[in-house]
Symmetry: C2
Amino acid sequence: MRADAPDSLIAETPAIVIDEAVARRNIARFQAHLDGHGVKSRPHIKTHKLPLFARAQIEAGAKGITCQKIGEAEVMADAGLDDILITFNILGPAKLARLKALAGRIARLAVTADSAVTVDGLAATFANGPAKLHVMVECDTGAGRCGVQTPDEAVALAARIDAAPGLVFAGLMTYPAPGGAADVERFMGEALAALAERGLACPEISSGGSPDMWAAGGPGGEKSVVTEYRAGTYIYNDRSLVERGACALEDCALVVEATVVSLPTPTRAIVDAGSKALSSDLLGLTGHGTVIGHPQARIVALSEEHGTIEVPAGSLAVGQRVHIVPNHVCVVSNLFDTAFLKKSDGTIGEIPIAARGRVT
Amino acid sequence: MRADAPDSLIAETPAIVIDEAVARRNIARFQAHLDGHGVKSRPHIKTHKLPLFARAQIEAGAKGITCQKIGEAEVMADAGLDDILITFNILGPAKLARLKALAGRIARLAVTADSAVTVDGLAATFANGPAKLHVMVECDTGAGRCGVQTPDEAVALAARIDAAPGLVFAGLMTYPAPGGAADVERFMGEALAALAERGLACPEISSGGSPDMWAAGGPGGEKSVVTEYRAGTYIYNDRSLVERGACALEDCALVVEATVVSLPTPTRAIVDAGSKALSSDLLGLTGHGTVIGHPQARIVALSEEHGTIEVPAGSLAVGQRVHIVPNHVCVVSNLFDTAFLKKSDGTIGEIPIAARGRVT
């Protein structure tokens, strides 16, 4: 498979290639899991950033979507998605103005907050309507990122939201540490009891994360306190989820197609996919991706535009195409303006990654 | 400096802010260094991706520019840059057609090659004119990426280029390993002698890299064999170059402006700049950037949209803006559609990063 005998329908590399059938199978499989556990699905669109797949997730049964940035939510609202949770503290006059405009044009907009400063900014912005903003309290159940540190703090913030005329207290939200399901149950159980004591109803307990997605809903048979789950990566899967046993390599719907541009030694192949195509994310792994069909190949180094692959002599040729499953697929979607979508009938079409690069 | 008392002219974060005066000072200083050593400058535009600064580098005395992708070169050609070296093996019919079109509209286009497959593709594309393509032989002088492995291989490939009617042998090129200047001298010295023996003139020996830029031209007083130098990062500088002693923190022209969005504990601040703003590149460093004005702050973790900073209690507040010098500035330029340019008079303007995301 040399440059003069192309083995791909894609003219130039590096490129993202998405197998639509695999992505839809992943959506259906996880939706069925959540349905079986009576847990609502609110997938995170940061992985795909595509209205096409956000709609597919809703059609499969998701109650709404999750975004991380107002800019992502604006793109999704433009595409007709009308129930959106932005899992971020929104601060500052410019962002608050955009949030208010967005709330006015979809059925339901929710955000998270973990401080009085954030809640007060939201309260002032939505005080005079017309739309209400749903606000969840973010809780740190062990991941050590955002979130109130104790159930008591969660209750105090819920009361502050509840007291604001333009805001609706929408429940508790957490992004747990890997393997932290038991901590979620304990924190949220205590917070629920304290909210009840205060007379505050808690409409939803939202947790998330693809690494532990198959435990969502109560892995041990006992019913979980979690009522809503936000998974992102599951739609494509990636090398990190394969290595963690959350999926098989065949379940990976997105690959980076690259070309071998140099073979300086018989065992060193250089491809045109570096950190600007695969990202430098390691997620605790060794190496930078899995080369499909070349189990002995090791992507040992990335610079910006080059990937260095150790291979058995004779296994790759200059000009040959390879397909790489990245370590962390979400960040890869953010590096390309377009993706190639492979349909079930074998045809391929190029589509814009509409919510890429929405940094604010 | 709370959200209600903004300390910035920039409405929303995260954002790239470039101090134009510092960037121009960096350009002038390194150009003067190369001028003093009689070495030509061919700066790599991958760091800034901005026609504005490519032109500034030429005006300061650079003989041309370096790009890594045809797409970057096309953007620069559109902006009037007319002497461009693409330091990459160009392969495949689609890319070769774009290369030929590009060669037809600028004064001088050059590429690199390290294999007969690459040279033969270029030769076939340019066989019938009208423009000639300049081709340098890439040599691996120790970095272990692309490049022929021996001076003899370099000579054989130079002869192959020289024999192709549409190609011009334009010299030898290397991207050295850090601290590898002595290896460059030895490899290139041997290759020059072998080329001369074969009767092949070598118009240029091109080396590069910002980490060792101040050694360019011959650090020990003896004259270097290198005639042209390709530096990229020097225009902005970054934390990696500060840590390596190549510049001072005040020489860093680009910062990421971020907002503290959460303070879950008195010593843990979360900012809205994660790996999608700062990238995950470590370049051998610990931590993910330097927070200006907060010498005790440590950016200990990044997720996609959050940066976790350990700080002394009381040093940051929710809503406060911070400025972060990234570990590796080149990849940061690739993550934003626009940048804010701070002029000497204190005004700020937003400009598109024209060559961002040119993956092919």
